[in-house]
């Protein structure tokens, strides 16, 4: 790519190319498909947390109108488990198949599935299925119950890290804090409920699935049904977001596909909102002990971060809260460790910035506590421990502009005007608190394939199996093609989210941009080479010329002698439809650099003690994620992550009844998420925009997760500044602030 082209389109603020489809209601999500002769499935979900199914009484349900079949553990086809390998691209988090046996491991587990002719009939019959259980008297509903009587925690060896002598260095440190933070179970709650529309023809499965990863979904379904992957196609051109909950296949999709094959009709299954809290993953609750040692100059001398989270009784999921702790600050003596313990929950899964979001709440709160102990400005304390080297990998960061993020964020926010004394800043009835925290996320890049065509009608076409989950992937793929060809965005057609397209990454981990764009660029250049080969052949516009002497710019092929021909004419002259290019690009280069993104949040809260009202009134976030591809969609990602971070700080917790083990707020009204009225008066996102060319040719590191990291700590630190209350358990509740 040339600098000139980049200046035009890479980094530009462009409206989404798929916008009109979404705005007209024409974008088709998984449950929008109505296939001929389609039946509807509705689940029966366990109403006990743990136990065994004694009897399922179908007598009433089977007589209900429109019922076609009712599946359960004694009436369900034998299927296979997936090996659940990330490397083989068939990973799931819940490996147990639906209806495998009569055991119940968590509330909300599928225990039966009604298939009927209409949605209303399927639901009515599902409500009429009667299930008798032998329920365990003492289910494990919470992390604290698990710690009391859940047996020995399991250490997660692979994600731990240790260097120096953290324990002895801590003991001999001049200034020490030893604090424990607790984060709750959070539920992703994408607006679109999980949905599967499955159909079979001649033994081949086509599945419209609300999926962040159609290739993984295809491979899992192939394993489960014992088919060659070519016989399964998974489509997810539009998805009502996922935040991690739609990365992997969950039991409902397998149930829907199996039911469709059994009844010989297409079947649609939507997971009700209530069960999206139980059987489609969640961010598990954590308890994290942090010990920090520092000298009197504010240099870290020791840091330990030991964490435990609940997992399900059937699978192990590690919430790697120490993933940022091990490299964010300069510290020779450091340990992070993770452990898990079983609870009667569905299997947890990645939720936006897994590990980092709860982990940085703990670390960045603790950094604030230590700054207070040292009587230092919390910003200066962080700067004093800045490092340009990832000590956990013993490699330099490929590109780090954290100091600039600190400075630009602080300047825009007005941090220099902070009076560090608690409760010292007031505005009328409100006490103002100012807090800050760093943000941090790993930059990842995977293998990717792509196809690009230059078409005789003046358009271009690009395809890749990766998805656009609302992040803007359709648009940045078109920008990448445009940056090389000069073809305007409105002439570029992009198709994504179908496992029959060239293999592309899951939309997760903030790696879709860095993974997909280099493949698109390579495929575009390959298409140009194909065009040149046609042009220099017999009857071509540059017959007899050498391919190397031709150049492609702004939609035209040119030689060095001033001859220039539009690519449409090159193709038209030969009666060719298009020139195609394909590409395969590798993962991130290994061994030379640590690739990570950085940033800083500055948050103002206002606490009105007279009416006990707390709100986030102002946020400034400076974000260092390498090259920005689309300023509009990038800023939107960070603003949305800030909103989710406010939710994590102030509202979100999935609650379980410790007696019954059942969830108590599993709906969209009682699980509080931020709404319009919760938004700050102002949110300013500063995108630093320093390309990281060591990572990939676009210099982009991805932007989906980083904005949520550190946000809850910045809010909690601001709350401490306003109220003097150090809240170490999320969410921050009014009763915690009102208590003496």
């Amino acid at each position: 790519m040339t600098d000139k082209i980049q200046a035009k389109i890479i980094g530009a603020s462009k409206p989404r190319i798929d916008g009109p489809q979404k705005l007209r209601g024409e974008a088709m999500y998984a449950a929008d498909h109505h296939l001929p002769n389609m039946a509807y499935a509705y689940g029966v979900f366990s109403t006990v947390a743990s136990g065994t199914i004694d009897h399922i009484d179908l007598s009433k349900a089977k007589q209900m109108p429109g019922v076609i079949d009712i599946f359960h553990h004694d009436h369900f086809p034998d299927l296979y488990r997936t090996p659940s390998s990330f490397a083989q691209e068939n990973k799931v988090d819940e490996t147990r198949l639906p209806f495998e046996d009569g055991k119940v491991y968590y509330p909300g587990q599928f225990v039966a599935l009604v298939v009927a002719d209409t949605f209303a009939n399927a639901r009515a019959a599902a409500y009429a299925v009667k299930v008798d259980y032998s329920a365990d008297a003492e289910p494990i509903a919470t992390l604290s119950q698990a710690l009391e009587r859940g047996g020995e925690p399991k250490t997660a060896k692979s994600s731990g890290h240790s260097r120096g002598n953290p324990d002895s260095a801590y003991e001999s440190s001049t200034n020490r804090i030893d604090v424990t933070y607790v984060t709750p179970m959070e539920t992703h709650n994408p607006m679109e409920m999980h949905a599967s529309t499955a159909s079979w023809e001649n033994g081949d499965l086509v599945l419209y699935e609300a999926s962040q990863g159609v290739i993984f979904a295809r491979n899992v379904m192939a394993k489960v049904f014992g088919l060659a992957p070519e016989r399964v196609e998974v489509r997810s051109p539009f998805i009502g977001s996922g935040f991690g909950s739609k990365l992997w296949i969950w039991p409902h999709a397998i149930a829907a596909a199996a039911a469709s094959r059994e009844v010989g009709r297409p079947v649609q299954l939507v997971v009700p909102r209530q069960q999206m809290f139980t059987t489609t993953g969640h961010r598990p609750p954590t308890q994290q002990q942090i010990r920090i040692g520092a000298d009197d100059n504010g240099k870290l001398t020791a840091l330990t971060h030991d964490s435990i989270n609940t997992t399900s009784m059937v699978d192990t999921y590690v919430e790697s809260t120490g993933s940022c702790t091990k490299s964010l600050y300069d510290c020779e003596n450091l340990r992070v460790s993770h452990a898990t313990i079983g609870a009667n929950h569905g299997t947890p899964t990645s939720m936006r910035a897994p590990g980092a979001a709860p982990g940085l709440f703990a670390l960045e709160s603790a950094m604030d506590e230590m700054a207070e102990k040292l009587n230092m400005d919390p910003l200066e304390f962080r700067k004093a421990n800045y490092t340009e080297r990832d000590q956990s990998m013993d490699l330099p960061f490929s590109s780090i502009h954290l100091m600039e993020a600190f400075d630009k964020g602080a300047e825009k926010f007005g941090w220099a005007k902070r009076d560090h004394a608690v409760g010292s800043m007031r505005d009328g009835d409100e006490i103002i608190g100012w807090g800050m925290a760093a943000c941090n996320w790993e930059a990842l890049k995977m293998n990717c394939d792509a196809r690009v065509s230059l078409r005789a009608d003046g358009t271009a076409y690009a395809s890749c199996a990766t998805q656009d989950i609302g992040t803007g992937t359709y648009t940045i793929v078109a920008q990448a093609v445009s940056s090389i060809t000069g073809i305007p965005l409105d002439k570029i057609e992009v198709e994504l989210g179908d496992s029959s397209y060239p293999s592309g990454p899951v939309s997760g981990g903030s790696w879709a941009t860095a993974t997909t764009l280099p493949a698109i660029a390579e495929a575009t250049r390959s298409a140009i080479e194909a065009l040149k080969s046609y042009a220099i052949g017999d009857g071509g516009a540059f017959a007899g010329a050498k391919a190397d002497d031709l150049s492609f710019d702004d939609g035209k092929l040119s030689d060095g002698d001033g001859k220039s021909v539009a690519y449409t004419d090159v193709l038209g002259q030969l009666k060719l439809a298009n020139a195609d290019g394909e590409a395969h690009t590798p993962g991130a280069p290994q061994g030379e650099y640590s690739f990570r993104s950085f940033g800083a949040h500055f948050v103002e809260v206002r606490w009105d003690p007279g009416i006990s009202r707390l709100r986030v009134s102002r946020v400034v976030s400076a974000i260092d994620v390498g090259q920005i591809i689309n300023e509009k969609t990038s800023a939107n990602q960070v603003e949305g992550a800030i909103a989710m971070g406010i939710g994590m700080a102030l509202f979100e917790a999935t609650e379980y009844d410790e007696r019954s083990g059942l969830p108590v707020n599993n709906n969209y009204a009682e699980y509080l998420v931020p709404v319009h009225a919760d938004q700050p008066d102002s949110v300013d996102v500063i995108l630093l925009d320093h390309p990281d060319y060591a990572f990939n040719e676009f210099g982009a590191r991805g932007i989906g997760e980083i904005g949520v990291t550190g946000m809850a700590a910045a809010v909690a630190n601001a709350v401490h500044h306003a109220t003097g209350k150090r809240i170490r358990e999320l969410p921050i509740r009014l009763e915690q602030l009102m208590s003496a």
Binding site: N37, G240, M644
Partner: protein
């Protein structure tokens, strides 16, 4: 597959007439069918989304006789003779409606799933003299529409930039 294919326990479907997106439509509905399920499952107008089926998220919002409602909380049989507008009825002559154009320009969405509901509420808010025109008033009036992607800042900008155009 139509919602009316199977009668339950001797209960028969009712015939109602709607003025739907400017067109007169006669439909047969069972008494338990919600307006949302009528739109999505019988008429295949899937631009209106189901996000919770409990009136908690706003994704299913439509206009009924000029007022915005949660279509999942309203039975279809109650709407005989009503004028109903869904997202599919917003644009005229193929042009984007001003609120759609503003959502495009301001990037007032990410995944697009709550967008129809946001726009239906927004056009109601903009045409309601009892709702103030300040940012706070708009945020309050639109708080029944959850956007889990958190595009709230841009949605507010889109609504305010459409003021006076609808």
């Amino acid at each position: 597959m139509s919602e009316t294919s199977t009668a339950a326990g001797g209960i028969s479907a009712c015939s109602i007439t709607l003025q739907l997106n400017g067109q007169r439509r006669e439909v047969e509905v069972y008494p338990w069918t919600t307006l949302l399920d009528l739109l999505r499952e019988q008429l295949h107008l899937t631009g209106t989304k189901k996000g919770c089926d409990h009136g908690q998220c706003g994704a299913c919002n439509v206009h009924v006789n000029g007022t915005v409602i949660n279509s999942c909380l309203s039975l279809a049989v109650m709407h005989d003779g009503d004028e109903i507008t869904t997202v599919e009825g917003l644009s005229e002559n193929g042009e984007l409606h001003p609120i759609q154009q503003a959502f495009l320009d301001e990037d007032a969405y990410q995944c697009g799933y709550c967008t129809a509901g946001q726009m239906m509420t927004a056009t109601y808010v903009l045409n309601s003299s009892h709702i103030g025109d300040s940012d706070d008033a708009v945020r309050e009036a639109m708080s029944g529409n959850i956007c889990r992607c958190g595009a709230y800042k841009n949605i507010l900008a889109a609504v305010q930039s459409t003021r006076g155009k609808v």
